[in-house]
């Protein structure tokens, strides 16, 4: 098991290296002089030359690559072009907000999605199944920024129950939790529908397995078959999809972050792209890839833990 986890982590590092190489290549293929971007159009040629030497842009490309990877291996993601602050520090500042939002959205969405999916299977082919089906597709179809705006208008502006913007003051746990409700609702809602659909599909597949017929032929109650047996199999099938989805949430929550003015990785990436702040873009993209890879490793380990066939093959 330890070896399995170490191997997964090693593979994750390889993926991150590939991402870093692609990013490095892309930075050098972007048209335009990076010194102009950094120093502005009114900089003198001397200033640009000095900057080029400072950043090591005058050296051969392979030397630059070596320097880039060397810095990366020390956890140095470079500096913000404008504020000159280390990118890593900036990311670590907003990361907790992003992770709490993603975790909060996901816990309730996955829990409710699984419950709805199971309910649809229990009443398979009857009206609750149809109702949950229509509801789920509807939830998937509504974009999260629409939910964001409407929930903001209803619960924050009209009813004034919850804060409209911000992430709460530092140290104020209740305030932070209250500020989390609306964004996590907006982000999670679509996932409820999505998870309930895949849980339903995976459960129906599981209920068609031969062992379910065996259990039925022994008179084992349907509820027991569904919750004790089929759900475990269905969860394994859903797990990897959920893990990828969770990775996507870490940057995909950009709309909710903008609407609710929350600091976060998504908003940071968006701002950096708009202002051509390349080191920050690189840093956030690398960080997102790292989080994705972490999610996949966790999903693999959980799968190995739940599935004896996978576990024994380790």
């Amino acid at each position: 098991m330890t070896f399995f986890i170490l191997r997964r982590i090693g593979l994750g590092l390889v993926i991150l290296l590939i991402v870093a190489l692609l990013l490095f290549g892309m930075m050098h293929m972007i048209p335009g002089d990076p010194t102009v971007v950094a120093l502005g159009p009114r900089s003198t040629p001397e200033m640009r030359e000095a900057f080029r030497q400072l950043m090591g842009l005058d050296r051969p490309i392979f030397e630059q690559l070596g320097l880039f990877l060397g810095r990366l291996s020390q956890g140095n993601l470079g500096e913000d072009v404008w504020s000159r602050r280390p990118v890593l520090t900036m990311i670590l500042e907003v990361l907790p907000y992003t992770v709490t939002l993603a975790v909060a959205s996901f816990i309730w969405a996955v829990a409710l999605g699984i419950v709805l999916g199971c309910a649809a299977v229990v009443h398979h082919g009857r009206w609750p199944d149809w109702l949950i089906g229509v509801l789920s597709v509807g939830l998937v179809a509504v974009p999260s920024f629409v939910v964001s705006l409407y929930s903001l208008l209803i619960f924050a502006v009209t009813l004034n129950w919850l804060p409209a913007i911000g992430a709460g003051e530092p140290g104020d746990i209740m305030g932070q939790a209250r500020a989390l409700i609306l964004p996590s609702f907006a982000i999670g809602l679509g996932w409820v529908g999505y998870v309930s659909r895949i849980v339903r599909a995976a459960m129906i597949e599981a209920m068609g397995e031969a062992y379910v017929r065996t259990l039925r032929s022994f008179g084992v109650p349907e509820r027991k078959i569904i919750y004790r047996y089929a759900l475990k199999q269905a969860f394994l099938a859903v797990l990897s999809v959920i893990a990828i989805g969770f990775g996507g949430l870490l940057t995909g929550s950009v709309f909710a972050e903008i609407v609710f003015s929350r600091p976060g990785l998504g908003k940071m990436t968006y701002d950096a792209v708009i202002s051509r702040n390349y080191p920050v873009v690189m840093g956030t993209v690398l960080m997102t890839s790292g989080l994705y890879v972490t999610c996949m490793i966790i999903a693999d380990v959980v799968t190995a833990f739940l599935d004896p066939r996978v576990r024994s093959a380790l």
């Binding site: 062992y211 032929s217 084992v220 475990k232």
Partner: protein
Amino acid sequence: MNLEFGFNRVTGAALAEPVLDIGDLTISYGGGTPAVQGVHLTVRPGEVVGVIGESGSGKTSLAHAVLRLLPQSAVITGQHLSLCGTDLLGAPDKTVASLRGPGAAMIFQNPMTAFSPLHTLGHQLTDLLWRDRTASKEEKRERILAVLKQVGLPDPAARLETYPFQLSGGMLQRVAIAAALLMRPSLLIADEPTTALDVTMEAQILHLMRELRAESGVAILMISHHLGVIAEICDRVAVMYAGRIVEEGTVEAIFADPRHPYTKALFACELSLIETGISRMPVIDHEALRRIAPVMRGAQ
């Protein structure tokens, strides 16, 4: 019908109330051509009855209909379908469920898929004893170990902790038979129990079933397309073709003197009886059969 065969060949027990009594049973899927048509079949206590036929003859539909295990699209009609004296035709699901296990227990074709891959065998066998709410965990464990021993599984205590994928098909089929015995059923329905196994395993499983039958006197309904299996274990055999039973009698009588053209054709296809050195394998000529046997007309 077949009163003269209604005694136990092994114990010579007198006529008794049949365990399974099927009268004029018809099964169709979604209103199409019936898969089973007007079938009569009885199984008496301690008797082993075989149903033989090729793929699609309706024998598995018949076996699964007893415990209402067919898909929802199946429509079952007929005079009666009595299991242990209870007519299950039109009976509420609850009644059927109460007889699943204690009334009739099933053994399925493929032991490799008959158990959940994600749970230990001990866990699954314990769950089958869900009806018994008074027995403690240890009592259930003892009962499970006893039946596993009975079916000749080596080191049963260790097997409880294993997962299905860690055992061979033959071993798993033994566990499946043990699971059925755990229910102390009146009838054992074996749906092609040896088809997914290799020849050695097949012989072992048949031997086991013969032993169990001699020990416990359980009635068995054996579904197979393999004449050897039927000859090995059954007292009586019913030959199914296109959803009907075309011939029925003692194994000796049918094997010695098959009357129906389909039965003859089936025998002609039996590999162990085919002469060596022939250039073509025999096939069943359905067109010819339909001409010879008018009962087949419109059946397919």
